[in-house]
């Protein structure tokens, strides 16, 4: 099975051909925003970090931002830094492989106005080159699909997540890769996931991953640990993290787990893999995108509207009231399983078919709305 994608020098394929304008440190955000106002076609990536933190967070920063730069959906990148920060714009731009890349440093370029003007020149040039590139035939097995749930309600695990599981199985059948994350939402299901691992060693890795996460949750939340779910989840009917977790892992479908990855690392295996990401949607998607996911499928009960920079996010509503009241933000209605008597398999097929069309260029609601949220995991102190 094939789709039309952008071929990259390393043999991977992008489903988009984006020009990224990214800050290396939040102090530079103003310039990135100004370039984005002048050139709405670029994808701006601004964030709250880049300085004032410890070595562990620094390493994760590098891995996430460099991972996003090297995502196959990105055709060109301009990184802008201030000049005195820890995470240097030049080193991020240099980490770009097989694509147009430049760095600008505000303190060297003569200040924000001058940097903005130069940035607009560079981005305009890059956009011109990107427009000349064409899609070519690409195997579906080259797709890496992140699986996310956010704003879950009690129906997420009944309609939307099982439908994603049906789609995930289809992707794996075609030789593609799907990533299950959100380790906090595996708490209480480690024994089930262990059973599903391709090797005993992987089973032990999963068990350790989930139990380390449990310990951290318990240390932070004490007796409330079993309730590590957001107020919206409780209002939606979920009574414990175990209940939520069981519903969540339904997204992964039924195929064996082939790899266990740390946050923001690229899968080396095909099929279903697990990545250690937090339950917080945006940080979790950043892990997937940095790991090379070209598409993210995102189920929601309460109605999350978040997309992600440079990566199309397909939204699956768990229930018809949310789908209908937020029609412009939702791509698939899994609530039709309840209201129209459709089967999980039918909705899974609809989702798979839509994802292939998205791979070939069809825009998701979040893309049309230009709704992109960006944040990534930071765990240490700020200085």
């Amino acid at each position: 099975m094939e789709f039309l994608g952008y071929k990259r020098e390393d043999g991977r394929f992008g489903v988009r051909n984006h020009m990224l304008v990214m800050s290396s440190v939040c102090c530079a955000n103003g310039v990135i925003d100004a370039i984005g106002r002048a050139l709405p076609e670029v994808v701006t990536v601004t964030h709250a970090y880049g300085c004032g933190y410890g070595p562990e967070d620094f390493v994760v920063s590098q891995r996430v931002l460099s991972g996003l730069i090297n995502n196959a959906n990105v055709g060109a990148v301009l990184v802008i830094g201030l000049g005195c920060e820890m995470l240097k714009a030049e080193s991020l731009a240099q980490s770009a492989q097989g694509k147009l890349a430049e760095a600008l440093v505000i303190q060297k370029a003569g200040g924000s106005a001058a940097t903005t003007a130069r940035g607009i020149e560079i981005a305009t040039e890059f956009l011109k080159e990107l427009k000349a590139q064409e899609r070519v035939l690409a195997p579906v097995s080259e797709l890496v699909v992140g699986l996310e749930c956010g704003g879950s309600d009690a129906l997420s695990g009944v309609t939307a997540n099982p439908s994603v599981g049906a789609a995930a199985d289809r992707f794996v059948n075609e030789g593609a890769t799907v990533i299950l994350g959100e380790t906090t939402e595996m708490i209480g299901t480690a024994h089930i996931l262990k059973r599903r691992c391709a090797t005993a060693e992987l089973g032990e890795q999963v068990e350790r991953l989930v139990s380390d996460c449990e310990k951290q949750v318990r240390a932070t939340l004490g007796p409330l640990a079993g309730m590590v779910i957001a107020p919206g989840n409780i209002e939606g009917g979920l009574s414990s993290i175990t209940e939520k977790s069981l519903g969540c892992i339904m997204k992964a479908g039924t195929t064996p787990i082939n790899e266990v990855l740390q946050y923001a690392y690229r899968p080396s295996k095909r099929g279903l893999v697990i990545m250690d990401t937090p339950g917080f949607d945006i940080d979790s998607m950043a892990g997937f995108a940095a790991g090379g996911a070209q598409i993210i499928i995102f189920t929601t009960g309460r109605g999350s509207t978040a997309g992600f920079p440079a990566v199309p996010v397909v939204k699956v509503a768990s229930n018809s009231p949310t789908y209908n009241s937020m029609r412009g933000d939702m791509d698939v209605n899994a609530g039709s399983i309840i209201d129209d008597g459709r089967t999980i398999d039918e909705v899974g097929q609809e989702l798979f078919d839509l994802s292939i069309r998205v791979a070939g260029g069809e825009q998701t609601c979040a893309e049309i709305n230009k709704s992109a949220a960006f944040s990534y995991l930071k765990q240490g102190p700020t200085f």
Binding site: A154, L155, G188, M227, S239, S240
Partner: protein, 92 residues
Amino acid sequence: MKSNALKIDESDNVAVATQSINKGDQIVVSGESLCKAVEDVELGHKVALMPIVAGESVLRYGEPIVQATRDIGRGEWVHVHNTQPIPGDLKE
């Protein structure tokens, strides 16, 4: 009959309301009427299909998800007011 609640696994002792259920309505799962709702149950929330005694596990997907903190009658709403996460569900 039109269903208004969903069960995932045969062994589940609760069903999830797929629409707002009013006190007095029949709980209908897969076209079959199983019991009467003794109170309102909102969309997405759970209703007991059989009596659950204090300390007993509530099952969804065939797995324990919470335990009852007091006796729960058939047709009652099941949520954080009459259950708690299973102690020991989270390992040391």
